[in-house]
């Protein structure tokens, strides 16, 4: 749990040369979508960065975010960045359990009071705190307790950022995002279901490099990764512009890789880095694999109608509603016609 080594010292200890460190810095610049001219500055900043303590809390979640983050077994860039953070508590990953684990958390909080980071995945149930507890402590209590001495909170995934799937209609557990409970600490929302692993580590790397939190959009997401829509950077954009769409998942358009707007792609209204960073270390992303974007980094994406209804298809109600409206209209029409006829009759009688 030593936090006194700089990142450069850590890498040196692991037998990584300065060349390797330069490669590492170049990788981070690429990751954070910073211009290559920033590489020397990143290298200099990382050389002197000290490992901040990170406490990772998992609440009402599916563990997908942790899975996304810890995909690789080899020392990848992401793994190294993650290792550069002193991971003092992660109840899914850590070896310790029970009282020992909780003691580790409390010790880390005490030793690093005011400067540790808290990462949270999963939403917090408020309808009955008993819905989700760790070591008998409800999520909401653990969050409040741990957030008190934190420098900042990183809400990882759409559940922690916006409520996510537990928050979807009818929200039986009363799930709320972290930002609904913690009001007095800076919160970074790294949304996505799950978020791209490189985005999670990119945010941490940004914190390491600049010692402060990144610039956030109005939903609290780092602009570096959530500043553009999928649509803005989609490689299928030329087909959208020309009006060439896949109508089914198996037709000629689909095989030719045409735009998936008509199959429900929510790319135009979804902010994330999938189209540039992609998934599985740049292998592909949903649209490239032939499926429209679900909009998983946006609030309430589970409650916006079918994933396969295009943005043009509105939730216009039902034929029954319109049938009733038609009858009502006809009734009003008949009524006003009757009134008019009476006026007309009177006018005629006056004439004759």
């Amino acid at each position: 749990m030593s936090n006194s080594m700089t990142l450069a010292e850590i890498l040196e200890r692991r037998g990584v040369s300065r060349r390797g460190f330069l490669k590492f810095s170049a990788g981070i610049a690429s990751l954070m979508a910073m211009p290559p001219s920033m590489i020397p500055r990143i290298a200099a900043a990382l050389e002197n960065a000290r490992r901040p303590s990170l406490i990772y809390l998992s609440f009402q979640e599916c563990t997908g975010c942790t899975e996304s983050l810890t995909r690789s077994h080899a020392p990848t860039l992401e793994g190294l960045i993650f290792e550069a953070i002193s991971l003092d508590y992660h109840h899914t990953l850590q070896a310790a359990a029970g009282y020992g684990a909780e003691a580790a958390r409390l010790q880390a909080m005490e030793e690093n009071a005011g400067s540790y980071l808290v990462a949270v995945d999963g939403s917090v149930p408020l309808a009955d705190p008993g819905y989700s507890t760790i070591a008998g402590v409800s999520n909401v209590d653990m969050l409040r307790e741990t957030a008190e001495g934190a420098a900042a909170i990183i809400a990882i995934g759409t559940c922690a950022s916006f409520g996510g799937i537990p928050h979807a209609n009818p929200n039986p557990t009363g799930a709320v995002p972290i930002s609904d409970i913690v009001k007095d600490k800076p919160i970074i929302n790294v949304s996505g279901c799950p978020p791209i692993p490189t985005v999670i580590t990119g945010v941490l790397a940004q914190y390491l490099t600049f010692g402060k939190l990144p610039e956030l959009d109005d939903l609290g997401r780092p602009k570096a990764f959530f500043g553009q829509t999928i649509h803005d950077r989609c490689y299928r954009r030329p087909f959208y512009e020309k009006g060439q769409y896949a109508e089914t998942f198996d037709d000629e358009g689909a095989r030719k890789g045409w735009c998936l707007f008509r199959l429900g792609c929510k790319g135009p209204v979804t902010y994330n880095a999938c189209a540039t960073l992609k998934w599985n270390a740049g292998t592909s992303f949903p649209i490239e694999s032939g499926h429209g974007c679900l909009g998983c980094s946006e609030p309430n994406f589970w409650d916006k109608g079918s994933f396969y209804d295009s943005l043009s298809a509105t939730q216009w109600g039902s034929p029954a509603n319109l049938g009733a409206a038609a009858l009502a209209g006809a009734a009003i029409g008949a009524g006003s016609a009757m009134l008019a006829r009476r006026q007309q009759k009177k006018a005629q009688e006056k004439q004759s």
Binding site: T229, H231, E241, K242, G243, Q244, Y245, F261, R262, P268, V269, N300, K304, G305, D309, S310, L311, S312, A313, T314, Q315, W316, G317, N321, L322, A325, A326, L327, A328, G329, A330, I332, G333, A334, S336, A337, M338, A340, R341, Q344, K345
Partner: protein
């Protein structure tokens, strides 16, 4: 609820409901109005041929009359056709109709539709300016005239802006476009836009009524 969610959800529901109520009110109300009985001997058994003839012939005026109104005639067709091509044949509009009607139809390439939309918008704006500056039109134009043309132009402008994605972010542009369509739907039953439903039945009735008396109308 974001603006787009509102536009695609409750706003669309209510706009369609009010539109439906309004259309049925106007149509039923008009059809049920008192009509004076014609006691003359009908020249033909059915008014259909004369009615149908009137519908077609009203669009093709005799040269003596055409010469006076050729400008309105051509510009009118230009922007109406462009408008319908845009509304009915743009690829991204068809899922909207499909969700309403249960069926769709093939779409045209965006290049063609955008040209139609641009021409339509240019002509509409030009006609609006003409209405505001022309000495006669100024005097005879009512608020219905101005409101109807503005609610017609707004979906076209917001649609082009959304397609080009300028101004606001895509989500807002799309929301404004859908809201402008809803505004059109709301105004529809209450002004001269009703000519969409009234024109052909009206022509038919005049043709049939005159045809009954042996007059080509």
């Amino acid at each position: 609820m974001t603006l787009l969610d509102f536009a695609r959800g409750p706003a669309m529901q209510w706009a369609l409901i009010i539109f439906t109520i309004g259309i049925f009110w106007r149509l039923v109300g008009t059809v049920l109005l008192y009509r004076r009985r014609d006691f003359s001997q009908p020249r033909r058994k059915s008014g259909l041929p004369d009615g149908a003839r009137a519908i077609v012939m009203r669009s093709v005026l005799p040269p003596e009359l055409e010469h006076n109104i050729v400008f309105q005639h051509v510009t009118g067709y230009l922007w109406h056709i462009g408008y319908f091509v845009t509304v009915l044949f743009l690829g991204t509009h068809i899922p909207f109709f499909k969700s309403l009607l249960g069926f769709g139809w093939p779409h045209l390439p965006n290049a063609i539709v955008m040209i139609a939309a641009a021409v339509s918008l240019a002509v509409l704006v030009m006609l609006l300016v003409r209405r505001m500056l022309h000495p006669v039109l100024q005097k005879i134009s009512t608020s219905d005239d101005y409101i109807s043309v503005i609610v017609t132009i707004l979906p076209l402008i917001t649609g082009l802006i959304s397609y080009a994605n300028i101004g606001f972010i895509k989500e807002t542009n799309l929301a404004l476009h859908i809201l402008s369509v809803e505004l059109l739907l709301l105004w529809f039953p209450f002004g001269k836009l009703m000519h969409l439903f009234m024109t052909f039945p009206s022509r038919y009735q005049v043709g049939a009524a005159f045809g009954r008396r042996g007059v080509k109308a």
